[in-house]
Subunit: 197 residues, 2 copies
DNA sequence: TAGCAATTTCAGAAATTTCTGAAAAGTCGA
DNA sequence: TCGACTTTTCAGAAATTTCTGAAATTGCTA
């Protein structure tokens, strides 16, 4: 691996973090390398800089493409494939949110729906089902949030994230205004989740 | 493994999802089992129901405790340890958010800060640093959001999550009101992140 | 402080994931 | 269609993670 020290530190870190983020080391390193690169890189350049096998890079790039985290580009007069990360970091956020939803939330949501349809035999199963119902509502809420985030344009997304704990004040303001004639704020959100604290 | 079919399906699914969520199969199964259990369970009961080794359960419980996802309880007249998940599912959300921040965001934030302090030698390093700066700002924003979520009481948390794409309307309303005399909405959030789309 | 019950630790076995090299498949111009 | 170049596939090697059984430790009470 020969890279400027700053880049190398970053690339190695991303490789290590990969396992916490659900990708493997090489995939993390490739992504980090492309992220800081000044121009698109081809597979052999990645092999050269990371010191891993060609086939590993090929598989890593395939996975990053499946995640929609890298874009394939072509350099005129060169038939090799060149890869780059989207420059807009907010596009990356939307992509990650979408993929996480698909992988970490949707499958469980599907299963929970199925289990809630079943007939509970024993007392224990009835209790389990009640608990699964709570989890289902929670997962639905998250799924909706993720879906919303994906659709928001950048400026609104920044606002939503910046909002955080200020939500209280903002909503107070809204509630007050919504009660005025004219109804700007839209209808109240349905919520079958009962707060317990 | 002997469990009612409904519970077994759920437990197995959680075990499989575990790897996507950054925990191992047994840890996922233990969590799922405790989540739907009618009463706290001791280690031997978990061994019995999941059909895994005693030591594996011991390690799994230790990890779940490190994540603050299970609580240790004592049954009077029984010196064994009993375990349960907090009943309030929103407490679980806060815990997960906190732990994810600690594991998935903070280490990278720390590294990015360090790298941004360094002197960039080459042109390539200067470009890399600019890119890392963008990532740093993004991670800061997320870290702040996560920290906020952890602090919100349940009702507000539900509101924040339900908000999603409605953020636009709500903020329009707020903006309008904030400009009125009295300044209810608080000061504008500082934002060094420039939207690019 | 001996004896028993419960829990934890840990070395190595088992399972899983990641990575490589070699071969296959695809692509383009001559 | 050939041949040079490029990418993909995949079986097995290497690395890593997970899991187990046995032993050690903890803590209680008699």
């Amino acid at each position: 691996m020969h890279l400027p020290p700053l880049v190398q530190t970053f690339v190695l870190h991303f490789g290590e973090m990969g396992s916490r983020w659900g990708i493997n080391r090489t995939v993390g390193q490739i992504y980090a390398l492309l992220f800081v690169a000044e121009r698109p890189l081809n597979a052999d350049e990645i092999v050269e800089r990371l010191g891993v096998s060609r086939s590993n890079v090929s598989m890593g790039l395939k996975e990053l493409q499946a995640w929609n985290l890298v874009r394939l580009q072509h350099v005129p007069g060169d038939r090799r494939d060149y890869f780059a990360t989207p420059e807009d970091i907010w596009q990356i956020v939307r992509t990650l949110v979408e993929e996480r939803k698909k992988r970490e939330i949707d499958p469980t949501l599907t299963l929970l729906r199925e289990l809630l349809m079943q007939e509970a035999g024993t007392e224990g199963e009835r209790h389990a089902q009640a608990r699964l119902g709570e989890m289902h509502d929670l997962f639905e809420l998250f799924a909706g949030w993720y879906a919303d985030v994906r659709r928001l344009e950048t400026e609104r997304l920044v606002q939503l994230l910046t909002l955080g704990s200020k939500v209280q004040k903002v909503l107070e303001v809204k509630d007050r205004l919504v009660r005025l004639p004219g109804r700007i704020g839209g209808r109240a959100a349905k919520s079958d989740i009962k707060p317990t604290d």
